[in-house]
Symmetry: C2
Subunit: 222 residues, 2 copies
């Protein structure tokens, strides 16, 4: 059986990615990050999704990226913007995907995983530089120079199955694979119980995704 | 003034790198990691080196890489080997340089640094895949696809000034730049007060480095 590390945030995208990896027959090692994001509802959601999907193991690694500041998601001094801005948004966390994929790579080496699955998506979040296909390819090339596997000629693959999908396509694909989206949290300012604010970019994208997919939206709003 | 993030472990290599960055006129942001390594003497050494060299800021980020296991440096179940093995050693920490450089990249984005300096060295540690020049180049390429700076056409540089130097050359260069090596700790099994074991690979390399450079070795042994 092929093994994969799956980055799992607790949002709808990574829940769908986990379901895709399972459907591909992978033994999944789910990895979440406590990186100083403003709320823990996301991590509780990740645990619920991992349990409901079935994984070989689920780990949550703490990294204090809030120390660096620079993002509305980890810095109390920067407000989470309402939906509709342009350019690189204030919710951008510097080098977040690189840090997460790197820690995924560390675990992948230890369990000798063949793949790392991640929910990177170029369509909805086009303002984030580390969500583009050329970035993912470049990380894979670096990873294969960095590790034993690469040296031994057994390259590791970075799989980003959502990269070209719209939110509506993600909702449709996840639903098809049986993802319980009621367990997931997307909101940047979710309440402790996971209830969404309904006003931030992430809430707006999620709402439109369900609407365009023509699928009932199970999101609880505060 | 140009800004650099400098990865600072508390060992002699990164102390020399910091001195090289300072001598190049960089404003230095020193970054250390509490990654589940077996002893804290290394981090105390990093603080002492940062203070004695003079930096704009010094941060220590905690990341629980010990959770992944797989290395004698973070896993209590794996013994630190004595000097003289071959191949990839048990002290190899999976993806460590990638994780450290990624967190350096996060801070570099926030302070808008032009460079990240690191002590990667291909000569003494040839068994570590993430210590080769092609790895460093590949990380730089990835970093410039991952970040705002790269998107804006102001590429960030990964500087590894020790990459082709022997331990003796590092000792000589550091001494020339005024590095106080008595503050540094190299030993994999150092005592709480920083005293070295004298038996591990790192102790052996350090001892031979001072000997070959013909410079008095200030290392305290347990």
């Amino acid at each position: 059986m092929s093994r994969s590390v799956v980055l799992l945030s607790g949002g709808m995208d990574s829940a769908t990615v986990l379901a895709i990896a399972k459907a591909a027959g992978e033994e999944c090692y789910a990895l979440s990050f406590d990186y100083g994001q403003r709320h823990d509802a996301e991590l509780a959601a990740a645990r619920a999704v991992a349990a409901s999907t079935g994984v070989a193991e689920h780990k949550t690694v703490r990294i204090d990226m809030g120390q660096f500041g620079g993002s509305a998601l980890t810095d109390e001094g920067i407000d989470v913007p309402e939906a509709g801005g342009s350019g690189i948004p204030a919710t951008y966390v510097p080098a977040r995907n690189t840090v997460f994929l790197s820690l995924g790579l560390a675990w992948a080496e230890v369990v000798d995983a063949d793949r790392i699955y991640c929910g990177v998506n170029a369509v909805d979040y086009s303002g984030y530089p580390d969500c583009r296909p050329e970035y993912v390819e470049s990380f894979q090339a670096m990873a294969n120079l960095a590790t034993k596997r690469g040296v031994e000629g057994r390259p590791l693959e970075i799989v980003a199955p959502l990269i070209d999908m719209s939110k509506a396509e993600i909702v449709a694909r996840g639903t098809e694979l049986g993802v319980d989206f009621s367990l997931t949290v997307s909101c940047y300012s979710a309440a402790d119980d996971g209830a969404a604010c309904g006003n931030c970019d992430a809430c707006e994208l999620r709402r439109v995704g369900f609407e365009e997919a023509g699928i009932d939206d199970p999101t609880r709003y505060a």
